[in-house]
Amino acid sequence: MIQVLKSFLVLVILFSPLQSFSAESVKFRHVLSIYLDEKGSGMKQPEGVAWDGKSLLMVADTGNGRLLQFTVQDRTVKGGKEIKIAQLLYPIGVEVNSKGEIFALDGRQRRIIRLSPEGEYKGYLQPEGIPSPSAFVPKSFKIDSRDNIYILDIFSARVLVLAPDGKYQRHVEFPKDFGFFSDLVIDFRGNILLIDCIKKMVFSEQKDFRGFSPLTKSLREYLNFPTSILADNKGTIYIVDENGGGIVILGQDGSYLGRQLTMGWNEGMLYYPSQMRTNEKGEVFIADRGNSRVQIFTFVK
């Protein structure tokens, strides 16, 4: 028994500094900012960014009612091809699946549009076989590594999980006591995380209970108005604080690890940012809406 206690004590002593080191170690370094498309036309209040896992960066250039395709390699950005179609009037979110298909959420119609990798219109995402109520309003959506589609359905207070072809797989009801969910993400374990912008809390899916439970307490002392959430492949959670112009970083257990970036106009600063993405190379893409640009950062350890 004493041996077990001693081992436990040694582990605690060994790992405590490591944990606090990791808490201090996540920092962002500004690499570059993207302002223009390939024809030299400026972005206007972009709200969404997506990464295809290789080199494609998709931007929902919301104010201009279009999507932009960039390639990012070796910290240089090329392209900026415009995808502008009649069915997509006001893109507020964008996703790319493993086949390169593009999905965009239209703020005006509150519908998800499916496009080919080349940007051709393929139709609206029409979920098949969703249980009553059949009406749904997508506030946000995400696609996981298996191309399953997760829709934050605020009208029926649930997360709808669809197969890549749009067939209903399952749904998870929102928890009983919540404020307003503004975004969702799928973490490295396949769990759904929700960000509540009013209660300023993160909720995580409890697969055993088929529901959500709080992962964090209120984060009001760390942020102002959280609008989107991201989880990287190590489980670290990033929350975009729109009104506070910063990014709050949490451990996979919801513990607060730190806050990065600040409000402003200069490069490296954010002004009402709306969404963030990371990739396996440690690059960070932020839709810096108020500054009408996308900024690229790298993690510095």
Partner: protein, 441 residues
Amino acid sequence: MKLSAKILFLFILSMSLLVLSTVYAQNKFKLKPDAKGKLCLNCHEDFKDKLKNPFVHTPVKEGNCSECHNPHAASHGKLLDEDANKVCAKCHDNILPKDPKSIHKVVMEGNCVKCHDPHASNNKFVLLKPGNGLCVECHKDIGNAIAKVKFKHNPVEKGCMNCHDPHASAKSDNLLKSDLVSLCTSCHKTDSPAFARQHVNYPVATTNCSSCHDPHGSDKGGILFENVHTPVANKQCGQCHEASSSPTPFKTKRAGYELCLGCHSKTMNEAFDKNRIHWPLVDKTGCLNCHEPHASKEKKLLLGDSKTLCGKCHPDTMEFQGKLAEKEKQENAAAKGKVIKGALTHNPIQEGQCEACHASHASDNAFLLKEPKIIELCGTCHDWSKHTSHPMGDKVADSRNKNLKMDCLSCHRSHGTGNRYIIPFPKVTDLCVQCHKQLKR
């Protein structure tokens, strides 16, 4: 036997200590017999009249001035033995029920003297004023409304304490003595035919009466709130709810905004035709996030004034406004009449007029702004051409960012920053040199 003797000895010892400590506590200042309050009154003569009041605080009556005051010296005002907001709790420690649902703010603050005279008064419970007069001193708006309303609620006339507990409520919000339904049905017979007829046979006996009725009285018959939803006024409950005979009579015919769409199609279609919708409008609660379905004292059947209503979901913005107002007050007070240039706060936000800039349902613009261009939006109140000669507009690029054009928000932040002129820097020059770098020193 030995053990019993020891126990007996310990018992006697502890009892003696108890008696001694009680005696000490009762006369901790070793006052001479018969000294007590009489001694104090030798100097505090005006107190003699006070003590003629019919209701005298027990320690005062007993002459135990030293229950609350220290006759020699104290760290608290009026030679109080304890902090003024803690001294009452020395004896009255059972004022609050266990796990109260609501507590009167003054009780929470320990500000008992707001309502009670600590020595004596003409009123029961040594209250400063009799009846509702005391309550409406703070709750002025309610007091004014009660005085003016055409249709008065009898229990309110008789006294606030008919429904409210002045200290705290163990059972309900708003210091109500019990839950709202029990309170109302303790007077109103819900099984009478007249009651059923008035409520179109809907079994409302267990529902929230204050969803329609103003318990403090109203100018509307049936003490309904000032603004009544037309179907309610016309007793057309079935427009929204299932039939009164249904097993679920209160269930609405449709969910969320879809219920309201039938009558308010113009408003809804206008909203749905915009680029951006205020998301709560299309969630499960829909329109009821902001509007009362039955009746409200606010116009447009709003749940509250804009400050409260918008602050419900945007507390960060509202809390910040509170801090700015406090800072402005402190700085102005410190200036002692000298005018400080530049406002710290933006009036519409301070006054809760969020709709001066934002559209509450939907808009084509970011942040649900009413106008696409900031200059035009600010121009609805400010004549910017008189305000500044700085080049602004669509043709003037912001030198910090080629995608931004110069407008009012290039220099100001509409919700305030904590700096004068609501600019993001403490000094104006710090702001200017952001663009005019050559002038930086």
